[in-house]
């Protein structure tokens, strides 16, 4: 008999996704559809004095421009508190507020119209820290609520004050206190947000399509906003390009805007966001400030825990009511503590608002509490394992909210033991300790974290969901559910539940995308409840169908009880008599009797409870347990952390689809690594600095180590086939485990994530400057705009990044290109990887000259002892070029690390040099090899040293009519050169170089230094070789003493040239380390 549950099954929606046939929101184009654009605020806080839409409305192709007052119905929405204006009226609460919406015949027209809307503001000082916001004297962000406090949840168990008093007077107990801070985190689903609204004349309402996580929530919000009844709004979700909690509230307000425009124009309207807009307006994970104070017996038993947390709700309350509630329930972690006092408050600020994100209030508290447990163990002379064993939940333990854990298997220590064994944790502790004693530069660490987590919504709200299973006469079936496929694989899981329950095969089951109009409200697809809630509803429907079929076939089988028959492999069998009926025949028999073989499934959660005053109650009906172990390697020279391995053990009750479950673990762990190491959504004074994925760093494939996914099964009585939850716990543990691992490696503690280079190296983050492309754009704009068609005063700022007003001329020969340049200044475009990024921000008209198809600029040759490279050669072509490989390995080292494979396929060496970014990766090694460049115009040509070509950051000597045509590199002498190239970036691919070093050395017959080249990248304002250091080294014997002497020389130079910069507290010591590492590596190799 073939079991389905627990096996590896291919996704139901896999075929359309590998063929490009799946239809995502932005792939939908309806007849007569208009395109919408929004006009975001230009300031983070203030009053709107005047809005002038005249120019926008007069633009040809614009069909509708709507402001707040143009919407006749309700304007504010929100899940609990309706404080969120879909279009703001007269005050701006954050930089992502929308002031106007536009619909036009084309997307470009809509966006241009948004640019043309003129707004006058009276800017006010914003509040950017929630602790500041809670001070009584602080300005009210939403005056109508009389306070900046959004919500306060208290929890009181036992008597904390008494326990602290006792601890203070006892020699056996200590008081232990720690502060932690966690950052914003962006969902960064690879699909940006998109909605399409279309009038539905049949119901005198609207249909809405798009990337919608929770269709029933969207329906409710649109209904409130428009005054339409629920049955006049139909939400039809498209294939979802990832959500992770992120396509809820933002999509709801976007849907309202698209609907408003659609109703105003009586046409379909698509509103699609660029990444920048999604990053700016979309909500994030709440930043938390956490204070933990403990009374602990010296034997390790925690007697009391007092927790104070302030959460940053941003401009709106949104889901803060729910997110912080989960935090208050789980804030102690999975530890049994007699006396607990927790207070969590969320407050408004003038920043992007915060709401649901996979984990939902748990990654923050776990980062704090699990980091703290390791620090506490250290303080008491215990191991991290011992402290958890002493305090961890056991069967029957009582949680902070007084709930006795008796209804499910409490598997905390089981998952910890399994994870630690798989990671070989106890041996590695010793092994790494030993390694770290002898390793100069790299230190290894191992650490873990554990958690418990309530499944589904708990006492947060009504916890129900719906499903329809419809079995057809031939035995095939349809499933529809009230929960939504967001990419997590819910369709496949549900089909497996149907296959298992009815005994039919997966191939005979189709999942139909539900619309809100054809199924009962199934609640939101959140809280890792897809399997436990939806799976139960599907099973409920199947059980009803099964009962109907059984009522007919039991006579044929001559049995009385359902349990006497086996339903599997498309057959129903009596194992006693071996009698069997095909499933399809049984269905037909049932239908012939006039009995229904379709059913509505419904699930309501078991009872839960909560007392708002005391924070006591049975918060969730069941819990899951997890443990993750992180192995790291830290480069103490730079603070860069590399992941070596992750082990993730999760008790999920029961596995339904093993492929899907493992996928949840891998994906969640990767997001946890991002949260721990890389992801830092930066908002400075209310202005979003992390506008796109060049500034907001997601882990790449090179940043994720091996992940061991261990699925621990303790079936739960409330779950379908015993299954509970998995999606969120996989994300919540990583950052804390990594922090503990790094703490072990460095013997230093860190109280905030992510563990950026500066944080690890200096113990704090440095305030960043504006992003690189802004600098570029600004500098470009300062050049007189001779190409500008119109007077610069009349060109409005670009409010949506896009390539808009350009003209491209293509040159097929160099001669043609030079002639074009002699007549009129053009921006030269070749690979386009810098130029197109800059064009997206460029507001003036640009004339471009494409030189990417000029064959003579794509050739590399050996001429007279030089290698001559055409400036339009791509980096990929140079990496593959045997001449380059043979003569310039240091150059290959550098350019191999530029961007990504796709970038290197297009980016050219000429472009990299002309752009002259301080972080240009081709430059350092070309300086070492003493390269020159050839510059040509119709007037002639000249060859100049590269060091004379680049004048400084983004500056070169190129005249308006000139083109850089060749790079000329002398072939090095035929002798042994030692080389070392190191590029420092925050991650392992797609890096913007923080600093780099290119070094090359040779030695004479007496073993003295003969030649030496030391070339930093991204350190000084102007590219320069460190010639004074080189001169100092030449002719000397190469020893560690000499290296230290040259480092001292470097120190002087760095202090005098870059000493005062914001970044120098990090850059100076780290670059010294980089030089030391370079020279020591060569010394060792020698």
């Amino acid at each position: 008999m073939k079991k389905v549950v627990g096996t590896k099954v291919k996704r139901l929606d896999a075929y359309e996704k590998v063929t490009g046939k799946a239809i995502y929101g932005d792939d939908i184009n309806l007849p007569k559809m208009l395109h919408a654009a929004v006009r975001h605020a230009d300031i983070p806080a203030g009053k709107i004095l005047k809005i002038d839409t005249t120019k926008a409305k007069n633009l040809k192709g614009v069909v509708s421009v709507l402001l707040h007052d143009d919407i006749p119905t309700v304007k504010k929405v929100g899940p609990i508190r309706r404080d969120h204006n879909v279009i703001v009226k007269d005050s701006v609460h954050f930089i992502g507020d929308v002031i106007a919406i536009v619909a036009a015949e084309t997307l470009e027209t809509a966006r241009k119209a948004a640019d043309l809307i003129e707004i006058e503001y009276e800017e006010e000082q914003g509040i950017f820290d929630p602790r500041e916001a809670l001070k009584p004297e602080s300005k009210l962000i939403h005056p109508e609520y009389k306070s900046n406090l959004v919500v306060h949840y208290p929890l009181r168990k036992g008597n904390v004050e008494e326990a602290f008093e006792k601890a203070e007077s006892s020699d056996d107990e200590i008081i232990f206190e720690r502060d932690y801070k966690t950052p914003y985190q962006e969902h960064a689903a690879i699909e940006p947000e998109v909605v399409i609204a279309e009038p539905n004349h049949q119901v005198k309402g609207v249909d809405v399509y798009g990337s919608i996580q929770n269709p029933f929530t969207t329906r409710k919000v649109v209904s409130i906003f428009t005054d339409l009844k629920l049955n006049q709004v139909n939400i039809i979700g498209s294939t979802m390009g990832g959500s992770f909690g992120g396509k809820d509230d933002i999509i709801n307000v976007m849907a309202c805007r698209a609907v408003a425009l659609s109703l105003a124009t009586n046409r379909p309207v698509k509103l699609a966001y660029t990444r920048e807009q999604a990053m700016k307006e979309g909500y994030k994970r709440h930043p938390y400030f956490l204070n933990y104070k403990l009374a602990v017996n010296k034997n390790g038993k925690i007697k009391a825990m007092k927790i104070n947390i302030v959460a940053d709700s941003g401009a709106y309350s949104s889901q803060s009511f729910f997110v912080t509630w989960r935090s208050v329930v789980q804030a102690t972690g999975p530890y049994e503590i007699e006396n607990v006092q927790t207070d969590i408050k969320a407050a408004y600020t003038n920043k992007p608002y915060t709401a649901a994100f996979r984990g939902f209030g748990s990654p923050q508290i776990i980062f704090a509490q699990e980091s703290m447990m390791d620090e506490l163990a250290n303080e008491l002379g215990l191991t991290p394992y011992e402290i958890r064993k002493i305090n961890g939940f056991k069967q029957g333990s009582k949680t902070a909210s007084g709930q006795a854990l008796t209804e499910h298997k409490v598997s905390l220590m089981e998952v910890i033991d399994i994870a630690l064994e798989k990671a070989d944790y106890h041996n590695k502790l010793k092994e790494f300790e030993k390694y770290n004693k002898t390793s100069r530069r790299f230190k290894k660490g191992i650490g873990f974290s554990c958690s418990y987590r309530g499944s589904s919504l708990g006492a947060e709200g009504v916890d129900t969901t719906s499903a329809i299973v419809s079995v057809q006469a031939d035995g095939s079936s349809y499933i529809m559910t009230g929960l939504n496929e967001n990419g997590q694989g819910l369709r496949t899981t549900y089909a497996m539940v149907v296959a298992e329950t009815l005994g039919c095969t997966m191939e005979d089951i189709q999942f139909l995308t539900s619309q809100t109009a054809n199924i009962a409200d199934g609640g939101p697809t959140v809280a890792s409840r897809g399997t436990i809630a939806g799976g139960n509803a599907v099973k409920d429907a199947c059980d009803k169908i099964k009962a109907n079929i059984f009522s007919v076939i039991k006579e044929t089988f001559n049995v009385t009880e359902m349990t006497e028959l086996v339903w599997a492999d498309n057959k129903i069998t009596n194992p006693q008599t071996k009698q069997e009926i095909n499933f399809a025949d049984a269905v037909q028999m049932t239908l012939n009797e006039g009995i229904n073989t379709s059913a509505y499934g419904w699930w309501k959660s078991p009872d839960v409870s909560w007392d708002k005053e005391t924070g006591q109650g049975n918060a969730y009906f069941t819990y899951v347990y997890g443990c993750q172990v992180a192995e790291t390697q830290v480069d103490t020279s730079t603070g860069k952390i590399d992941m070596l391995n992750m082990v993730a053990a999760h008790d999920l009750g029961r596995v339904i689809n093993r492929t899907g479950a493992e996928g949840q673990v891998y994906g969640g762990v990767a997001q946890g690594i991002g949260y721990g190491l890389l992801e830092n959504y930066s908002v400075q004074n209310g202005i979003v600095k992390s506008e796109n994925f060049d500034e907001y760093l997601l882990p790449t494939i090179k940043d994720i180590p091996n992940i061991d996914a261990i699925l621990v099964e303790n079936p739960d009585k409330y779950g379908p086939y015993g299954a509970k939850s998995l999606g969120e716990p996989t994300l919540e543990l990583g950052a804390a485990a990594i922090n503990n691992s790094v703490k072990f490696a460095l013997k230093k503690k860190y109280n905030a994530n992510p563990l950026t280079l500066e944080r690890v190296f200096l113990g704090k983050d440095l305030v960043k400057k504006v992003r690189q492309s802004e600098v570029v754009s600004k500098e470009r704009c300062e050049v007189p705009n001779i190409n500008s068609k119109s007077n610069s005063e009349t060109v409005p700022e670009k409010t949506t990044d896009r390539v808009s007003d350009i003209n491209i001329t293509v040159a097929k020969t160099l001669k043609e290109a030079l002639e074009i340049m002699s007549n009129k200044k053009h921006w030269i475009i070749s690979g386009g990887t810098d130029v197109i990024v800059q064009l997206r921000k460029e507001k003036y008209h640009k004339e471009l000259l494409d030189i990417s198809q000029i064959k003579e600029l794509k050739i590399t040759n050996e001429i007279d002892g030089n290698i001559v490279i055409g400036s339009a050669c791509t980096f990929s072509s140079l990496i593959d070029n045997e001449l380059i490989q043979k003569h310039y390995p240091l150059f290959i080292d550098g350019i191999s690390l530029i961007g990504s494979t796709q970038i290197r396929s297009r980016a050219t060496i000429g472009g990299n040099l002309v752009n002259a970014a301080p972080c240009a990766d081709s430059v350092p090694s070309l300086f070492v090899y003493d390269a020159s460049v050839k510059i040509e115009s119709t007037e002639g040509s000249k060859i100049v040293k590269l060091s004379d070509f680049i004048l400084g950051s983004y500056k070169n000597i190129l005249g308006e009519n000139e083109i850089l045509t060749q790079i000329i590199i002398p072939i090095p002498k035929d002798k042994k050169y030692y080389r070392y190239f190191f590029k420092l970036g925050r991650r392992n691919a797609l890096n913007i170089t923080r600093m780099s070093i290119a070094t090359m050395m040779s030695f004479d017959d007496n073993n003295k230094i003969d030649e030496v080249y030391i070339m930093p990248g991204s350190v000084f304002a102007k590219f320069q070789r460190l010639t004074n250091l080189e001169e100092f080294l030449v002719g000397k014997e190469f020893t560690t003493d000499l290296i230290e002497k040259v480092i001292a020389l470097l120190d002087e130079k760095l202090e005098s040239e870059i000493g005062g910069r914001w970044s120098s507290p990090y850059k100076i010591p780290v670059f010294k380390n980089m030089l030391r590492d370079a020279l020591l590596t060569i010394l060792e190799e020698k």
Partner: protein, 153 residues
């Protein structure tokens, strides 16, 4: 407007394109091949990856005008050119939301066309410009590796 001729998925097409049209827009809008996705518009996510003249490129960072004379392959062609790769993605759970999948497949295809038996590091380098937020990359690595074995046979 510029006139260009491209070979798209084996078919020669001559089109009039606006100067500000990116290759990505040409593919999605003018040619209605919506399998290619836009995730960031600045070459950081790789969702728009197509194969242009044998190389994986971000189609958001190529102007349509620049593609004149180019041979372009998009995800829509893979049932013809790399079914093993598609099957391997399905088999090993390399797909969740699927939005990065077309770009991921095209980067993998470009690699396997050049290096039939890639090392783990070569696979990682080929996919370093493709962000996936769902799968943690582990099943994707495995899929490409297993596909390379099948294609060899």
């Amino acid at each position: 407007m510029n006139k260009i001729t491209i070979n798209i998925n084996g078919e020669e097409r001559t089109l009039e394109v606006k100067s500000n049209l990116r290759l990505l827009d040409l593919i999605r809008e003018d040619l209605a091949l919506t399998g290619t996705k836009e995730g960031c518009g600045v070459g950081e996510c790789g969702a728009c990856t197509v194969i242009m003249n044998g190389e994986a490129v971000n189609s958001c960072l190529v102007m349509a005008t620049q593609a004149d004379g180019a041979t372009i392959e998009t995800v829509e062609n893979l049932e013809k050119s790399a079914p093993e790769l598609q099957e391997s993605f399905v088999e090993h759970g390399a797909i969740q939301c699927g939005f990065c999948t077309p770009g991921m497949l095209m980067s993998a295809k470009a690699l396997l066309d050049k290096v039939p038996n890639p090392s783990d590091m070569q696979i990682k380098t080929a996919l370093e410009g493709n962000m996936c937020r769902c799968t943690g990359y582990i099943p994707i690595m495995k899929s490409v590796k297993e596909a390379s074995k099948k294609i060899k046979k």
